[in-house]
């Protein structure tokens, strides 16, 4: 009975996830192929006008580049396209001919996931702890101060934070010496002289290079966690089961962990996945600012270079990453809150 509920819940969520991915995949196909002045038609036109190719030749070239057979019917093209997506085969990049799109993504995406994930996790841990403490210490003088800072941080755009951090750490020479971070040396994802792998030198170097993006994500997200957790904890603190736990003589630390903490985290945990998607999108600007070789910077390059296969691949992969993380968040939520499964169960 219980097991069934859980399995059913997971299957439902899984189907929902696949459905979302399929919808996005389809939308992308239609954007590329069917919209008026879509990239394929534009490319064909361009080739004919600029290079004087015949329609046949232009279409053949386009077919090759977009790995689509333009002579086939739209439905067949769509099915071939779906097949390619399932195999994660997005063809070759236009800008770097011969390099599969997937290879580029595989090289770039982990860096973005690393910085975004690290930053988000750090902001979550700091924000949750601070929020819970503030809720307990509502009567202290520093509560409005910290809350004020948190709401200020949550309201300024992340690229401003990035610029501020860049100046603070990389430009200003504190006390007449050198800036805190040698930012010219920190371009890229890691230095030339370390060997990628599971070794201390590499990990330290990667963290150094990712430091400013990670800090940016942390600082720009921490405010919202503080505010959410504070609100959620305050309402949990006044719940009957917390009051009764006190009357039952349960130790304050146990009340915090088993009664307040877990219940207060519930409404926030879904937010986590949403934020992840949000800042993966935001990485576009941040990675450009710090010249960080992640997926955001790659997408920017692909867009300005009109590298459609690459753009398409990145869009899809980003979608999949976001959808998977929200799937995981929902599972996590259901594990935390037994009422969720019950509601969905029947």
């Amino acid at each position: 009975m219980k097991i069934n509920n859980t399995v059913l819940f997971i299957i439902k969520r899984l189907l929902k996830m696949l459905f979302t991915i399929w919808v996005v995949t389809t939308i992308i196909f239609f954007l590329i192929r069917l919209m008026p002045s879509n990239p394929v038609d534009r490319y064909v036109e361009e080739q004919m006008v600029q290079y004087g190719l015949s329609a046949e030749e232009a279409r053949a070239k386009a077919s090759f580049l977009f790995s689509m057979d333009l002579d086939k019917s739209m439905l067949e093209q769509y099915i071939t396209y779906l097949g390619q997506v399932i195999r994660l085969d997005f063809g070759d990049s236009l800008l770097s001919p011969g390099v599969p799109v997937m290879a580029i993504i595989a090289e770039r995406l982990p860096w973005t996931l690393f910085t975004v994930g690290f930053g988000l996790l750090l902001s979550f841990i700091i924000g949750i702890s601070a929020g819970a403490i503030l809720a307990y210490r509502r009567d202290k003088w520093y509560e409005p101060v910290v809350s004020g800072i948190a709401s200020f941080l949550s309201s300024i755009p992340d690229f401003l934070i990035a610029i501020f951090l860049l100046i603070l750490f990389g430009v200003v020479a504190w006390g007449g010496g050198n800036p805190i971070l040698p930012i010219e040396l920190l371009r890229g994802n890691y230095s030339m002289d370390v060997t990628p792998g599971f070794n201390f030198a590499f990990i330290k170097d990667a963290i150094m290079h990712g430091f400013l993006p990670i800090m940016t994500y942390t600082v720009s997200q921490v405010g919202i966690w503080v505010l959410l957790m504070k609100g959620s904890t305050i309402s949990t603190l006044s719940a009957d089961y917390v009051t009764l736990a006190k009357v039952r003589g349960i130790k304050p630390r146990r009340i915090l962990s088993a009664y307040v903490g877990r219940n207060a985290l519930l409404p926030i945990s879904t937010e986590f996945a949403m934020r992840l998607g949000f800042i993966i999108g935001g990485s576009l600007i941040i990675e450009q600012l710090f010249v960080y070789q992640g997926i955001g910077l790659e997408l920017l390059k692909a867009t300005s270079g009109q590298d459609y296969p690459l753009m398409q691949g990145i869009f899809l992969i980003m979608t999949i990453a976001i959808v998977i993380s929200s799937f995981l968040a929902e599972i996590f939520y259901a594990v935390l809150d037994p009422r969720i499964k019950a509601k969905e169960g029947n």
Binding site: R138, S238, D240, Y241, T243, L244, R248, G249, Y259, N263
Partner: protein, 331 residues
Amino acid sequence: MKNEKLLDIQNLSVSFKTKRGFLKAVNNASLTIHENESVALIGESGCGKTTLSTSIVDILPLGAMITDGKILYKDVDEKVLNLLELKKSKLRTLLWSKIAMMFQASQSSFNPVKKIRMDFIDTVKAHKPRMSEREIIKRSEELLKMVMLDANLVLNSYPHELSGGMKQRALLALSLLLEPKLIILDEPTTALDLLTQEKIVVLLNELKQQYGFSYLFITHDLSIVSELADVVVTMYAGRIIEKSPVKEFFKNTKHPYSLGLIKAIPKLSLDHTELFSIPGSPPDLVEDTIGCPFAPRCDRRLNRCSLEMPNMIPADNPHHEYACWNPNNGD
């Protein structure tokens, strides 16, 4: 013959800080609960019953302040402790092991993300860390059976899987878990059907005989009062206005307000079920009143009543006290 004092509330005053000013929810209230005694606290909604009882276990909501008074508790070694001045850590050892409480409308008293068994285990572990889980569960099962629940089912359920009445009974079982001296019950039977209500009242009586519990229970149901209470305490506008042994209370009611409450019981036996209700409504507790707070609604009002607040004075029966200038004398 009289048992010893267990809890002695002396001149307790509690105020809420509100936008309009201080709301005096409890005003100079004194109340004694003896060992193995069951005290019923009655009065209209908003007269301060919950505020009075929650101040005993230190869970007044934010914004509430105890402005005056003492709450004395006699511990096992005859030591008398003022609960209001006790260190938090010391108070915590008394809570639930000596004084347990069931909340009014206790629908969310269990942790929503844990099975009920965890609430039972947590409670014992907080006081007797050495007791094994097996023992705790065994004891819990006995108690749950006593309140007519399927023990196994309840222990392995989440709170949302139980009905309101089941939760209320499970909570009652939880409050018996450490065999406290005093159990505070804020409207313990409101979520229950009449039949279950009756069973719970019978059970509470049996438990009192068996374990020697004392109860402080709040109810709007005077039939439960007559079945369960040894002493009845009437509150009005934050003040205690009458205290009496239960028989004496119903036979020889002194305060016109208490009488009004008794008269307001629907009498089904009568042909025309005429429902009496006390005219008017309780005063605003933010404003200071000079005279008796009940005076504006009272049919026995004298001039003096609006000018001077009467003190509690004993009736013929010395255990019966009331605060009224013109008490009912059966005339």
